[in-house]
Amino acid sequence: MVGSVRLPGLRHPAPPDHMPSREAVNLVLICTLAVLALHVTHVPLWMVLAASCLILWRYLIDNLGWRSPGSLVRMLLAIAMMVMVYKHYQSLLGRDPGVAMLFGLTGLKALELRRLRDYLLTVFLLYFLTVAAFLYSQSLWVGGYAFLVVALTTLCLVQLNQPLGAPWTRCLRLAGGLLVKSIPLMCILYLLFPRIQGSLWGVPIDAYGVIGLSDRVQMGSVHGLIANDRVAFRVEFDGEPPANRDLYWRALVLEDTDGRVWTRRSDLDDDPVPETIRERGREINYSVTLEPHNQRWLVALELPTVTPAMARRRAGYIVEANRKIRNRFRYRVQSHLDYRTGPLSRDQRFWGLHMAKAPTPRMQQLVNDWRAVAKTQAELVQLGFNYFREEPFFYTLSPGDIGNNPVDEFLFETRRGYCEYFATSFVTLMRMADVPSRLVVGYQGGEWNPAGNYMVIREFDAHAWAEVWLPGRGWQRVDPTAAVAPERVELGFSVLSRMAQNGHAFGVLDVDAARAAAQSNWWQRGVRETGFYFDFLNNAWNQLILDYDVDQQREWLRTLGIRTPAWVVLTGTLVLVVVLLFLLMAVVMLRPRPDRDPVVAGYRRFCAKLAPLGLERASYEGPWDFARRVARARPDLDGEVRRITSTYVNVRYRNRFAALPVLRRQIRQFRPTRSGGA
């Protein structure tokens, strides 16, 4: 056995290393599996299999007496793993190959667990891998699971340090107590540790993927989002939320098209004309918490009138953040639902009438018919809208394939589709009729979460609609989808999907009937309502934990009165608070447990009052022995001490509990002077 451990420049007695107990060994293997489970979603399958096999191998070595591989075999395995990782990622550096390599190493390390050192290093590796899992997912679920894993790993660490293997209950209590008692310190560190703005080294591109709405729309492209129930953003309104049919969340305006694909204008960056809005009606103030999508657009109700901080207005009444949204982004906006916009610029007219290719004869015929009837542009738009309402168009989430000339085919042949189909066809028709118009994409509707009083808008709420410019009124929204399936706009997509579940077709029922058709049974309702609570938790998790960054820290510190959060000030505060908290914990944890028995506690106080006079009661001294000794040393105290001792003895040894208040009073009033009066 080694008697002590040598530290740089210091030699002191230290516990020698011991062999971990059998229970601890098995626990480490279980723990390893639990940690690796956090990574199975992004580590290559072969690596998952390899690591699992290695751990199984180790288990068989321990429990079935299989042979342990030599160091050469282990070395070869490590090299093979490294080569495989390199071939898979073309690199050994960076997040993904690094995590994959650590993943494999953990499995490999399981094979060579022998001394305490190996075990402890594995445990530290497991901690690291647990934290590394947050680079991939930061959801509440992963967080909760990771906390359990950390608790398990800590249990492992405690068990490893009990040479004989302590009872499970004790280890559990220890590990649990340790974690719980660490939480206050953790909070302090979390809140006050200075956050930095940039990165220490380049963040790989692969850290963020583009999610959600795309700025390229063609028939069928929103389709991918329909099955996606990921949250796009959440909204808290200052007052009452507007009706569902007014909830048009504007994200992008697409004006350019090649006949199939709609995109943003290429010359957007140097738009010279500020667009004006004459707002009418009441303003709506609300906060949006946007999930990261790695693009710059922000959503706002039509039309936004006050631009949020760290963002600017762009042409087409859209709002763009100053940088790409890579973290959850919370901003406040103001919108007016009723508005007029100003005159059309030359530029806008050009793009509003832009056509990619010549229309087909039957499309031209249709538009010519309308122009013959309509006297004004507004009537023309109305005719177009009526066309969609009166002709047999069907709203469906599964339209068939569409060929080379999509608008023509859709208008005259298939007539089945959803928002993009209607919106793009409508815009095309309007442009043919010389009405400046454009395609707007964003989200429509949302689901009210009664648990947290906010609105959740998911990816499947994505929507596309048309906007036309009418003289005197400016840009006006026209949503041809509402003509075909009013319930989509009135009730929102989630109701629509419930209708589909219940086997109803869209666009045939009026709004009330549609709402009735969307009625779910108690089970579905229960699931939905539980879902509200989960989303509420998720939202709280996001706002409290995930979104805490430099800005929030600064804001929080400002409320504390720290106005200049210089690095030094912050660090100093942090150290000070940590030390204070630690001392507080030390006082609480290390103080001797107070006597539960008030009698004993009272007598202790009495003795404590005599101790400064050099009359310290020995622990083995009986009460009367002590009283006599006190009387000998200080005859002036005799009477009082005798009285107190007598009461104490009566209460403690003769069970005269009624005298306890008397004892307390006597002890309280007992104030011996330092020098004897007599």
Binding site: Y620, G622, D625, Y653
Partner: protein, 322 residues
């Protein structure tokens, strides 16, 4: 000295409160055994707690006199056996003798059938004789030749022995020592007491003039009273802590049995009664502990010579009062 007839005094004492009875008895004994208040009290305490007493000291300090005085003052039926190497169990218990007239064996009761038996120099008898006595002490009955005879309800043994392990002695084994509730020493008298002894009358003649103060029923009353003295849970904790300390102290050969703990609680109750209290206090436990534990504990070799403190005192000092 009281000149009243014996039965009158005793009858008088039967009605007075226990405390006064005991105080009078102690005073009377102290008139004969000079300057040994503590030993006298312990001896009396032992009798009240229904235990047997072992007096260990060098010859000539008054072991026998103490026993005799106790017997005389308490009015007990007193017998004495001088233990020698050729003492046989029958000499203690009694012997069956063939009665030729009736043609049967008749059991002649030995000296053990008494209320207070003084077993002088108990360690000079062979183990066989010792165990006959000690068995009777434990069982409070005697088995001889197939007959079981109960001993009197009041039955005390006061054993005396010399401390030195001399040739030809048979030290009592630990298991036998355990049957004595207490072991006390007497020690040399202090200066004044010794002077008085030298000046005064021979103690033995003084002893002859002593008249009993109590009768058996009074003593029994006192004993019953001692049994109901209150022993609070706090003190039970203390006694347990003391026992536990003996079991874990490295300087002791072995720890104490639960019987020793029971003995301590009985003795402490009796002591509290002697102090005229209805409740046991830690001081009572500490007062009797050396006598009750002393002969049951043994220092590991060598430590005994180094320790300044008495063994039990050391033990008491190591256990805080809860």
């Amino acid at each position: 000295m009281n000149s009243k007839p014996q039965h009158e005094i005793a009858a008088e004492m039967a009605t007075v409160p226990t405390a006064k009875v005991l105080r009078t008895a102690i005073d009377r004994i102290n008139e004969i055994i000079l300057g040994k208040d503590r030993s006298v009290r312990l001896a009396l305490c032992c009798l009240i707690a229904r235990g047997h007493l072992l007096i260990e000291d060098i010859p000539g300090v008054g072991k026998t006199t103490l026993a005799q005085t106790l017997a005389a003052v308490l009015g007990l039926d007193f017998k004495r056996i001088q233990f020698t190497s050729d003492l046989l169990p029958a000499d203690i218990i009694g012997v069956s003798i063939f009665d030729t007239e009736r043609n049967t064996f008749r059991f002649h009761r030995g000296p053990i059938f008494s209320s207070l038996l003084l077993a002088d120099e108990i360690n000079r008898a062979t183990p066989k004789a010792q165990s006959a006595l000690l068995e009777a002490m434990q069982e409070r009955q005697v088995s001889a030749e197939g007959v079981t005879l109960p001993l009197p309800e009041l039955f005390f043994v006061i054993g005396t022995q010399n401390p030195q392990h001399q040739i030809g002695t048979f030290p009592l084994p630990e298991s036998q020592l355990d049957r004595f509730l207490m072991r006390i020493g007497i020690g040399y008298p202090d200066h004044d007491a010794e002077r008085k002894l030298l000046e005064g009358v021979d103690r033995r003649t003084l002893l002859n003039s002593v008249e009993p103060l109590l009768e058996e029923s009074t003593l029994r009353r006192v004993q019953r009273k001692a049994e109901v003295i209150r022993l609070s849970p706090a003190l039970l904790d203390y006694i347990q802590a003391l026992l536990h300390a003996t079991r874990s102290a490295p300087w002791l050969v072995h720890g104490l049995s639960p019987r020793a703990g029971l003995a301590l609680s009985h003795a402490a109750r009796a002591w509290a009664l002697l102090e005229d209290r209805d409740t046991v206090l830690p001081e009572d436990v500490q007062a009797v502990a050396p006598a009750v534990f002393g002969h049951r504990l043994q220092y590991t070799e060598d430590t005994a010579t180094d320790a300044g403190l008495g063994l039990v005192d050391r033990l008491i000092r190591s256990v805080p009062i809860p």
